[in-house]
Amino acid sequence: MTNGEKIDLLEEMLELKSGTISENTALAEISVWDSMAALSLIALCDEHFGIQLTGEDIVKFRTVKDILDIMVG
């Protein structure tokens, strides 16, 4: 999956218009990035990549790219 496709997944999950976020977007700048979004990300990574993320993993993420980097498999 390309980074563009992963961003599409994140935008769909966050219900953001296409093109709203990029690799360099800081998570703190995304208005809808909150604890529920973090839980959604856990579910998304499990469903699409078979990855079991934890809350501890997520608090370390600073930018969209940090998320894209773990979306493998």
Binding site: M36, A38, I42, A43, G55
Partner: protein, 248 residues
């Protein structure tokens, strides 16, 4: 001195017996004299539970309760090996935190298989005369989530409400044989599931209303033992709340 929670001579099946409330209940029931039949997926962890039991004659069976269609045959084997049952505790259950928009049919169905459909099928099979004695007691481990929602727990809450709902008509159907069936709506209990909840980023502040603190699994086991014993003969078709004050 009499012990109103004495379970001597009773044969009790416990699902989800490899951890948490199920394991604590199995240990407690054995100390009260019951012969306990353990089941869960993980054979190794079942063996650990077995090693903690008091007395002799207990047994364990590894089975994945999501295989609903195989439950009837599985139960027949248990009864053939151990004789008919006097009690059943459904502690098998999974919890997940998924916001509504991520809670698709497949994941909802998957959770319902373990938490609810297996319970319904086990009750259907166990309630036959050939599988359980008159006067038996059946218990489903439910949760306060059945009646009070927290964000991202729609599937879990629905599965527990389903358990609480199905026992009421069943209690009436089984009353002719003096069989009782209840659920226990536990608050947060300090089990592996609770640790998992915290690890996955669960919001502990949602549980601040549980003003008597996080429950001890052994105290949860006492509630189950009570409902299995003749001390609770007046109680059937209900969801007993054991929530350290959470709902009050």
């Amino acid at each position: 001195m009499i012990n109103p929670m004495d379970l001597t001579g009773k044969s009790i099946l416990v699902t989800g017996a490899s951890s948490g409330i199920g394991r604590a209940a199995a240990v407690k029931l054995s100390r009260l004299g019951a012969k306990v039949i353990l089941t869960a997926r993980d054979q190794e962890r079942l063996g650990i539970t077995l090693s903690q039991l008091n007395g002799e004659g207990h047994a364990y069976y590894s089975y994945d309760l999501k295989r609903i269609e195989g439950i009837e045959e599985f139960l027949s084997k248990i009864v053939a090996d151990n004789g008919i049952l006097n009690g059943f505790v459904h502690s098998a259950g999974v919890s997940e935190m998924k916001p509504l928009k991520m809670s698709k049919f497949n994941s909802l169905h998957d959770l319902m298989l373990t938490n609810f459909y297996s319970f319904a099928e086990l009750i259907r099979c166990i309630s036959k005369k050939s599988s359980s004695a008159d006067g038996s007691s059946f218990i489903g481990v439910s949760s306060v989530s059945s009646i009070k929602g927290n964000k991202s727990q729609s599937a879990y809450s629905a599965s527990k409400s389903a358990m609480d709902g199905i026992i009421r008509p069943i209690a009436k159907e089984l009353s002719a044989r003096r069989i009782r069936i209840n659920t226990v709506l536990f608050g947060m209990i300090g089990t592996e599931m609770f640790n998992e909840f915290l690890k996955k980023g669960g919001d502990i502040s949602a549980w601040k209303d549980q003003y008597m603190g996080i429950g001890d699994p052994e105290d949860a086991a006492n509630v189950i033992a009570f409902l299995l014993s003749d001390a609770s003969k007046l109680i059937t078709g209900t969801g007993l709340i054991a929530d350290c004050g959470y709902l009050s």
